[in-house]
Each structure stands twice: as C-alpha cells, then as structure tokens.
C-alpha cells in the first residue's frame, strides 16, 4: 500500500519516471543519495550509480535481516528482531540527517522546516517505540513463570493427556485395577522407590529373574491387581522435579502418597484389594497402568503380611 501510494504520489508509474523522480527528488535541498549517506553526486550518471549501489546495499541488508528472522525459533522473537532491525537504521538515518542539517551551511524555507518537522514527528517516536519493543524484556511474575515452566515442560498435562489414551486403553483392558487407598496415590519419592522394595514395584525389565521365580506361579488374579503402570508414572513424575509447579503438585502427592507397608488390615477390610481403586488426579497420573508390558506377563501383587501390605512383583 505504501509503495502504491508513493507511486501515485510521485507519478512514477513507469520505471523511467521512477528513476527520474528519484534523481530529481529533494528533501530540504538534499538528494536521495545524500540522505542515504552516499555523498553528494556531481552528475546525473554519478547520482544514478550511487543510487544503484546504495539501494542495492540497503536491500541486501534488509534481505539478510529477513533471512536471519526466518531462522529464529518463535514468532514473538521474530517480530522483536524485526523491530530491532528496522528501528536501528531508521533512527540512524534520522539522526544522521539531522546531524548533517545542523552542521551544514544551507538555508531552508518555511516549507522545508514544516516537512522536516512532520517527518521527525512521525519517524522519531515510531522508531523509538519499535526499538523499545525490540529490546523490551518482559518482567515475569512468579505465577507466570510457573505457568510457563509448566507449559514448557515436556510432560505437561497437555502432553500427558496425549499419552493418556494408550494408558486408558490398557486400563480398560484390565478389568480390575490396583487397589490403593483412595486419595492416597503411590509414593513417587526415591526413598520409597529405593528403600521400600516391598511396596514399590520395579520396572518389569529391571525385575530380577531370581526374584520373579520366588513369586508363586499361579496368580492370575494377582496379575489383574498389579499396579503395573504405577512404575511408569512414578518415573515420569520423578523426571519433573525441576519444575516448580510440578514440585508443588508432587509434594501434594507425596503427602497423599500411600506407603504400601502402612496399609493395615482394617484398611484392607474397608478397601479390599480386589476392589480396583484408581488414583487419578485430574488425568495427570495413572498409577496402575502398564503401557509397556502385557498385563498377563508382568505384574505385582499386594500381599498381606504381618507388617502390613507388601507388593510382590511377579511375572
């Protein structure tokens, strides 16, 4: 639109006219080549040569900036870079013109002064504003930071929801689910993972063959009760400890996480092991799913002992 307006304004509908207009154009007594800092031309041919070289260089630089912009990661950064790249030459051009005008010995008319005022009035604030935008650093509040970190987390709820379908699929395939105390998700801490060998099921592939052999052969019912997917969910949650929000949520989970050893007989009575209880906090964590192995092959059984409930891995 700007080009179209300029073409109509200067009657430069043909290239020949355009060149002529460009050569004859004067602003405050300065030619285009002088405004662009290319020196004062002596002849028309010299003027044209300077314009070709100068405009070519300017267009080349602009193109280079655009190429760099295209490689930048996000749209916001691209716009910021473009603002910066436009504002710096604009300010430099404006200031260099003013510098030249102040130190030159040329007289100017009232119309020239008015046009200079108009150009400066629009160019200077515009250039400063877009430069400010290009360099602006957005101050983040704590909540914003957390939210952002949560959003950028590769295992955010969005991503988790993406991995949810296979889990729920497996979940549906399992007719029964691991029975845990409701509102007390399994512990995700390393302490529980490492220290409570009885309560926390290891990964199926990490299961010792010897240990598996100690488990009873006939345990089809127990296989159905295995909280197989819980291992994966725990591993996943542990990988998010750097996320502040995750940390807070994880803390809540830690507080609510059940120690399998602490499951008592009474609890067992009120919450029978055969009854599937799923800990699912806003579709974030599903503890009793095994997206990797077959439920018939790998599983864990909660066995009642004198000391409390014990989780036994079996194959």
């Amino acid at each position: 639109m700007a080009f179209m307006g300029a073409v109509i304004e200067f009657n430069a509908l043909s290239l020949e006219n355009f060149t002529q207009v460009l050569v004859e154009f004067r602003f405050m007594g300065y030619s285009v080549s002088e405004i662009l800092g290319l020196g004062k031309p002596d002849t028309v041919a010299d003027h044209l040569l300077r314009l070709k070289v100068g405009l070519g260089a300017y267009i080349g630089l602009g193109s280079f900036c655009l190429i760099i912009t295209s490689f930048l990661p996000s749209q916001r950064i691209q716009i910021k870079f473009l603002s910066f790249a436009i504002s710096i030459p604009l300010i430099a051009l404006l200031f260099s013109f003013w510098f030249r005008f102040i130190h030159d010995d040329n007289t100017v008319t009232r119309e020239d002064k008015l046009s200079l005022f108009t150009v400066t009035l629009f160019t200077y604030p515009g250039a400063v504003c877009i430069l400010w935008y290009g360099l602006h650093i957005k101050r983040k509040s704590l909540n914003e930071g957390r939210g952002k970190g949560y959003a950028d987390d590769p295992l955010s709820p969005r991503i988790r929801s993406e991995i949810q379908p296979p889990i729920t699929k497996i979940e549906q395939e399992n007719s029964e689910k691991v029975v845990l105390s409701e509102g007390q998700p399994p512990s995700n801490t390393e302490e529980n993972l490492a220290g409570n060998d009885k309560g926390v099921p290891p990964r199926p592939e990490d299961v010792d063959e010897n240990l598996l052999t100690t488990v009873g052969e006939d345990d089809t019912t127990d296989q159905e009760n295995l909280p197989v997917g819980a291992n994966e969910a725990m591993d996943v949650d542990l990988s998010q400890e750097s996320d502040p929000l995750e940390e807070s949520s994880m803390g809540e989970e830690e507080e609510a996480s059940p120690n399998l050893n602490s499951i008592t007989q009474d609890e067992e009575a009120t919450t029978p092991s055969s009854t599937p209880v799923e800990y699912n906090k806003e579709n974030e964590i599903t503890d009793d799913l095994n997206p990797i192995g077959e439920p018939e092959e790998v599983g864990a059984v909660v066995e009642e002992t004198d000391e409390g409930a014990e989780l036994v891995i079996k194959k």
């Binding site: 200031f95 005008f101 102040i102 010995d105 008319t109 200077y124």
Partner: protein
C-alpha cells in the same frame, strides 16, 4: 538476558544523549533568539568578549580556530577553502537570520511602502527606517536639536550598496531589484542607499558628506560593492579606515593593499568561484581577511575578517550571508564602538596615492607611500586639544568620531563627562574595565562628576 539488558540500557542512554544533542542543535539552527543567546554564552557580551571555558570543551562551531596566516606550503585554493570553511562555522549562528531573510524576500509585497525615501542633496534615494528618539541635553548642545524633547531621526546603521549605474533607468532597475533586501535591513533599523559612483574621489566625498551631515544616521556605516565598486570600497577604506564599520566586497576586480594600521572595519570578501589564475588578487584578498581579524577583542578577532565562496541564493541581489554579516557588524559596533581598539598612529592617506600603491602593492614599500591628510577635521582635532583633561580615552573618542561635528565642538571636560556617563550607565564592570585601561580618565570623570553632578 544480562546481555540484552545491557544492550537495552546502553541503547536507551545513547538515544537519550543523541536526542538531547539533536534537540539543542535544532534549536540553534532554527531559532534565532537561541542562536544569538548561545553566541553570547560562548563569547560573552560585546564589551567583555571572552571564551567560555566550559562550552569550549564541547567543540561548538563558535570555537573554530581562525586560520592564522598565509601558509606557503598550502596552495591558495587550499587556504581559500580553509577560510570559507571557517567563515561557515563561525557564522553558523546567523543561519536562522539568513532563513528569515530569504523567507522575507519571497513573501513581502510592497517592501518600501512604509519607509521614507528621500534625497540628501547629492545622495539620491536614501531610505530611512523612521526611527526617532527625543533629543537630550547633549544633542541640543551639539546642535543636533533645537531643544530637549524634540524628535531626532536616527538609525542603527547605514547600508550603502555601490553601483556603477550611470543612466537613470539602470539605477531605477537596480533599485527595484534591491527593494526587498533594503526592506529587510530597514526593518532591522538600518538605513539604506543605492549609491552610484564612478571614482574614488566621488565616493569619498559623498561618504564624508553623509557622515558629517547626518551623524545620527551614518554612525555605523557598512558598504557593499561588487567588481570594480568592490575595489573602490577597499581603496576608500585604505584611505580612511576609521570611516567605515564594515566593508563587504564581492569579486573585487583588482588587488588593493591593506591599510598599514589596524583597520577597525570588519571585512567580508565573497567570491563566486575560485579562480586559480588570479593569484595576486587572491593573495590580496586573503591578506585583507587575515589582517582584519587582528584585534585584541574577541568578536573582531573572530568575525573581523571573513572570506566566503558564494554557494547559494545566486538569484538574490545581496547574499544572505552578506546581509547577516552586515547586521552582526552593526549590532556589534552599536554597543562596542567606544571600546573598540584604535591604533594611536592612525593616519589617513590621500586618495591620489592609490595608483602608485596599486603598482607596488605586493612590495613592502607601501609604508613609504603614506601621506598625512591635512583635512580640516584632523587640524580641528589638533587645535581643540586642551592641556587639561587630556587622556587616552578622550583622544581615542575624538579619533573615532573625527567626522562628527558635535564631538569637535565639545571640550575635553565635556567629553569626559559624556563618555563617563555612558560607561557608568553600562555598569560597574565596564567602569572597572575602563579603569584598568585608562585610570586617568576615570579620575577625571569622578572629579568632574563631583564638581558638576
């Protein structure tokens, strides 16, 4: 992040400084009042000109060093360009005034409608600005007014444009061409005259008549000439340097030697283009420029002699630079005429000596050609010398106002009282300066003041 913050802060500071710089420069370039103000900040007032030590560190145009002398190693062209560059810088404060002048030329209709155009006997077509002031006691005593309170016509300065127009129609055409420029000067309180003259004697006679008959109008005289007329002006200045406040010459046709003594007149030479073949002329012009800057006072030492290559407004009869220079010269002498330094050995030369001087101009024998001019003015000044109240200040004053009949009639005692009152009205600083320059004068003044308050 830190890098971005540093970049942001440094960009902000840089743009802030640049904005301030541009803003100040724009005010200086476009606002006439501010440009004059900045000149006075940089150089002080006319009476106490001194370089401002703080501003001089900023590298402003006012502090451009004038080319000192003709350097043999540098070509004439190089030296002329250097002078041109210097004149552009040192007169940069006049750009708003020049803009105003050109704007005025393009807009004014009926330029001389509100001004009087009169003939002063042999001087035809004098245009006066119409400034009037009530006569004072001194004016009545000097015979300039019949009684106190009568209105006296005066002018801040008098601008004479010399022309060679012989016929009436040529004169009228040229006058019509100059009307707008004259109008601008008249609005600044400067009387104007298009003076047709052919010879040096004619020119000097007319100017002597003007100064003697109309002292209040022709106190600060600036003369402009082109070509042959420019050379005539230089010769007239050579003969009577104290008559003129400023001379502006454009493309002088022949070289003229410099006055031996320090000339009070400011000198501006304007060249349309540099002609390398005319080395003698260029050397003579450069000598005038450099010699005219030799002064112990700041303003004349910077603005007293300038050379400029004409670049702009070729269609304008008088260059805007010349108009601004003339106004600056008049403004300076209006205030500082009494303090302006004057060599004690100032002597005037007969006009008839110019032909021989021109032939021997580039030799150093010019001083031998000096001849005392026994005019009635000088003899009168010698006769009026009294044994009492004779001091350096009175002598200088008489020399400056040698053509003023009112001054001639005054005794030394009256002069001391008159000059002393003027100084006293300017303030204590001026009195202190005069005291350091001529303590005898101050003693005379204070004693007369005690006797005749």
């Amino acid at each position: 992040m830190i890098f971005k913050r540093i970049l942001s802060v440094s960009c902000g500071i840089m743009i802030g400084f640049l904005t301030l710089y541009i803003l100040e420069g724009a005010c200086f370039r476009l606002v006439e009042t501010y440009s004059s103000k900045r000149l006075s900040w940089a150089w002080g007032n006319y009476l106490q000109g001194s370089i401002n030590p703080m501003l001089s560190k900023l590298g402003l145009d006012h502090f451009a060093e004038p080319p000192k002398a003709i350097v043999d190693s540098l070509s004439i062209e190089g030296q002329i360009l250097k002078e041109d560059d210097y004149s552009s810088k040192v007169m940069s404060f006049s750009l708003p005034k020049r803009d105003r002048f050109l704007e005025y030329l393009s807009t004014i209709d009926d330029p001389l409608g509100e001004f009087d155009i009169r003939d002063f006997q042999m001087l035809r077509g004098v245009v006066t600005p119409g400034l009037k002031r009530p006569a004072m006691f001194e004016d009545v005593r000097d015979g300039l007014a019949r009684r106190e309170g009568d209105l006296l016509e005066f002018a801040e300065g008098f601008f004479i444009f010399l022309t060679s127009a012989s016929s009436n129609s040529d004169y009228e055409d040229q006058f019509a061409e100059l009307e707008k420029s004259f109008s601008f000067l008249l609005n600044n309180g400067v009387a104007c005259l298009l003076l047709a003259t052919e010879s040096l004697e004619d020119l000097m006679g007319k100017i002597s008549f003007l100064k003697a008959s109309y002292p209040l109008l022709a106190e600060n005289l600036v003369v402009f000439g082109r070509g042959e007329q420019a050379s005539l002006i230089m010769e007239a200045c050579f003969a009577r340097p104290s008559t003129y406040r400023g001379i502006i010459v454009e493309n002088p046709s022949r070289p003229v030697p410099m006055p031996v003594e320090d000339s009070r007149a400011w000198f501006l030479a304007i060249e349309d283009e540099f002609s390398p073949g005319n080395r003698t002329q260029n050397m003579a012009t450069l000598s005038w420029v450099i010699k005219s800057r030799q002064s112990e006072f700041l303003y004349p030492s910077r603005l007293g002699g300038l050379l400029r290559i004409r670049k702009e407004d070729a269609e304008v009869p008088i260059s805007s630079f010349a108009v601004a220079y003339a106004l600056q010269c008049i403004d300076y002498f209006r205030v500082a005429s009494i303090l302006y330094p004057q060599s004690h050995g100032a002597q005037e030369k007969k006009p008839s000596t110019f032909k021989s001087l021109n032939r021997k101009m580039m030799t150093k024998a010019t001083t031998s050609q000096d001849v005392k001019l026994n005019t009635p003015v000088s003899s009168f000044a010698e006769k009026i010398e009294e044994p009492t109240y004779s001091c350096e200040m009175v002598s200088e004053y008489r020399r400056i106002h040698g053509d003023d009949p009112s001054v001639k009639r005054l005794s030394n005692r009256e002069l001391v009282l008159r000059i002393g009152r003027s100084f006293e009205s300017m303030g204590e600083e001026v009195m202190a300066q005069i005291d350091s320059k001529d303590p005898l004068f101050i003693r005379f003044y204070l004693s007369i003041k005690e006797l005749d308050p």
